[in-house]
Amino acid sequence: MKYVTEYRDAELVRGVIDEIARTITRPWTLMEICGGQTHAIVRHGIDQLLPPEIELVHGPGCPVCVTPLEQIDRALAIAAKPDVIFCSYGDMLRVPGSTVDLFSIRAAGGDVRVIYTPLDAVRIARDNPDKQVVFFAIGFETTAPANVMSVIQAKNLGLKNYSILVSHVCVPPATHAILGSPDNRVQGFLLAGHVCAVMGYWEYSPIAEQYGIPMSVTGFEPLDIVQGILANVQQLEAGKTDVVNAYPRAVTFDGNKPAQKMIDKVFVACDRKWRGIGTIPSSGWELRPEFDEFNAEKRFDVGEITTEESPLCIAGEILRGLKKPNDCVAFGNECNPEHPLGATMVSTEGACAAYYKYGRGVEL
């Protein structure tokens, strides 16, 4: 298909990798933030085709992986209520909470439904006026436009039985947290192309400047990814710290203004806890007080939540680029997609899931 096949052209990918090899003179560690890119990289074996000087580490850009355990447990408690229809993106169903997951709530008789778009949840609410419909609104900047529109739509339709459980996170504060950490190894960033499609990439220039590293807005096809890497390497070798747009067919400097406006109308910045990483100041969004009636946290009292994380799971270190999935002793043993110990093993964008699926059990 147009805009896809050209960007999978092996000849072109090879050519760009050659150019990277010609440009590079010393080792560099780059992080791809987005879990979608992690999967593309591992699936196409791009990391193995690159010159050995480049190490790619995988970032925190998987919303399912970083949704805090408290919020998963809260979702489970709400979903187990008898009058609730709980709607979620499919990825969340197998994510382990402290004790169970959404899947087992459904098996035990809970009405848990997988939806493709939040507008489906609004439709379900309209069709089931005697039920409370709750949508688990997770994600980065990419899903925010859709999630906030569901609230606007529910408001316009006058629905009294729709609410969302918000656990939104934002990329720029996460890059700050990674680069500002004393054990940081990242020397260049591949920015998540579709996050930038929504938000633009103007926010990153001050961060790149502050930490003295380059960044490139990067797409998701193999050619996009090697192009993003080339842009990073060219800058690193030249000692530059610009934010380069290596995905111009989909991303503009300003991003999607109508989407930003709608997000700002419904959401406000808040401190957010990231699973395995901890609290990052102003790193998330929550509903503005004007939309309290749509706030599932206010609508449902689930009592005190005490969480329990698997002691084996090192997902937090993986998400900060400090370790790789195959550094985890549980990888492929106690932890696998059937019996996951951490969210990174079940999410379609999780690094552990990618390593498992594409057979990266042992370092070659």
Partner: protein, 89 residues
């Protein structure tokens, strides 16, 4: 869920006060909301996230990128240098 997919708008409609579209993803047609791309129309390519079009794909930019990359490769061929040739089948 987080991954955006490119598709072609084949029909624009209205539903419950929202601007909607039928979008063709290489043979599979699904509905998507166009509220955030008021300028999008039939024939345009767009990236869809969880049922919402968030960005128009620019044909001009796509062509320019491909041409720039092709130039790098042509130069390489001319100079007879290659690093990864033996690594990709």
């Amino acid at each position: 869920m987080c991954l955006g997919v490119p598709g072609k708008i084949i029909e624009v409609t209205e539903k419950n006060g929202l601007r909607m579209a039928q979008v063709d993803f290489g043979g599979i047609v699904r509905e998507a909301c166009l509220e955030y791309l008021p300028e999008a129309n039939v024939g345009d390519y767009t990236v869809i996230h969880v049922g919402f079009a968030i960005s128009l794909l620019s044909e001009e930019e796509a062509k320019a990128s491909l041409e720039m990359l092709q130039e790098i490769i042509d130069l390489e061929d001319e100079l007879g240098i290659g690093y990864s040739t033996e690594k990709i089948k």
